[in-house]
């Protein structure tokens, strides 16, 4: 009995130490500590020195491709034309209170919806360059580039012609980049397709997309 109690105590100490470590790990993953930029620009050159600032939003986290498909008015394969502009939300007095990007894409294939193949459309993207070497985004979204070809899940907007990408990072997948996102480096690697915390979820969704849309 005495030996059993001793074993329980030792096991408890070992497990408690592990638990504290896990709690510390989950806490330290939540926020970053990089410096803030000071200038807003519409265009920038992406390189390995680009700082990445991923801000958080309240949004839907999708468990499956079918949920994203259900919420999309259109599903297309598209390529970014290189045309992008900083989009600023302004008050009536002209004060800017929020920013994102509007990007132009050519439609290569259409799987759902009314967008014509061969047409050119615009989409909002939840990311922009606050200065030339600092990229600000929502929830790890990375901007489209001209080398990629993207399966896009899009919602139309009654308020205007620009489309919205469903679930932000969850509605854009580069079919020319088949490798999985690496959670060890993606938050600091501007070349990574996804810059956020939900790497397992993103990789799982991407595999589903690649299997279904070619």
């Amino acid at each position: 009995m005495k030996k059993l109690l001793q074993s329980i105590i030792i096991s408890g100490v070992l497990l408690s130490t592990t638990a504290c470590g896990l709690e510390q790990d989950s806490f330290s993953n939540d926020t970053t500590t990089k410096k803030v930029a000071s200038q807003i620009v519409a265009d920038a050159t992406v390189n390995q020195k680009t700082k990445i600032a991923s801000m958080h939003a309240d949004f839907i986290i999708y468990d499956s491709l079918s949920e994203i498909e259900k919420n999309a008015d259109s599903i297309v394969l598209a390529e970014f034309t290189g045309q992008r502009q900083l989009n600023e939300y302004k008050t009536a007095e002209g004060y800017t209170f929020h920013q994102n990007s509007i990007s132009t894409v050519n439609i290569l294939k259409a799987f759902k919806g009314e967008i014509d193949v061969g047409s050119t459309i615009q989409t909002f993207e939840p990311g922009f360059f606050q200065k030339e070497d600092e990229y600000v985004n929502l929830e790890g979204y990375n901007l489209m580039n001209e080398a990629g070809k993207y399966i896009l899940f899009l919602k139309k907007n009654e308020a205007g012609p620009v489309f919205t990408i469903v679930g932000m990072y969850q509605g854009k997948y580069d079919v020319t980049a088949p490798n999985q996102v690496d959670a060890q480096v993606n938050k600091t690697d501007i070349e990574s397709e996804y810059l956020g915390e939900n790497v397992d979820q993103f990789n799982k969704l991407k595999q589903e997309v690649l299997a279904k849309y070619k």
Partner: protein, 192 residues
């Protein structure tokens, strides 16, 4: 063999006892907040402004209720005053309906007008933004919209997200909390 059996049994027992606390933890006190934010002297009586979009999209009740809920927390110095204009306000409220696919965001700014993306600096201003189209698209009820509003205002107090299954208005997603929960209250009492 008998000793090995005892060790295994004791390990299993301890796992059962300890594991539930390993899976998740409520963020309390300093762990519930970003290091950046408004000074306490600002939060004590924050100047606020509501863009006309708040009323035009029908969010006035929820923004007013959210402010009243936070200001009503006992033993927490939180208050608001309506300054009626954008320039003088520290906390500004907006509603949008044409843009990215999120329900709400809070954008904090330093005194030089820079977006404090890493939540580590002293804030001079904060924009609390709700997205009406997102909420329509995802069939948000009145209660869900109310929760989103109080959640986003909670970020203006530097409150971080809490994770499931913690009971808190600071959890993300389609939830029904319309008032600060006990954990939120105790955290704000600690901070302010």
């Amino acid at each position: 063999m008998k000793k090995i059996k005892q060790v295994v049994i004791s390990f299993v027992l301890m796992t059962i006892l300890v594991l539930p606390t390993v899976v998740y933890a409520d963020y309390e006190d300093e762990h519930a907040f970003w290091t950046g934010g408004f000074p306490a002297s600002v939060i004590k009586l924050a100047d606020y402004y509501e863009d006309p979009s708040v009323a035009s999209f029908g969010y006035s009740y929820w923004t007013a209720n959210a402010r009243a809920d936070y200001a009503g927390i006992s033993n927490a110095n939180i208050g608001f005053t309506n300054v009626g204009n954008y320039a003088d306000a520290e906390i500004r409220f907006f509603v949008v309906s044409y843009g990215d696919d999120y329900g709400g965001i809070m954008n904090p700014y330093t005194s030089n007008g820079t977006l404090d993306v890493f939540m580590t600096n002293t804030w001079a201003k904060a924009h609390v933004i709700m997205n009406d189209k997102f909420m329509d698209d995802n069939n948000f009820t009145s209660t869900n919209r109310h929760k989103t509003t109080i959640h986003e205002l909670g970020h203006a107090f530097s409150m971080r997200h809490q994770v499931s299954p913690t009971i808190s208005v600071m959890r993300q997603g389609l939830l029904n909390y319309t008032d600060p929960q006990p954990l939120d209250i105790s955290n704000l009492q600690w901070k302010y």
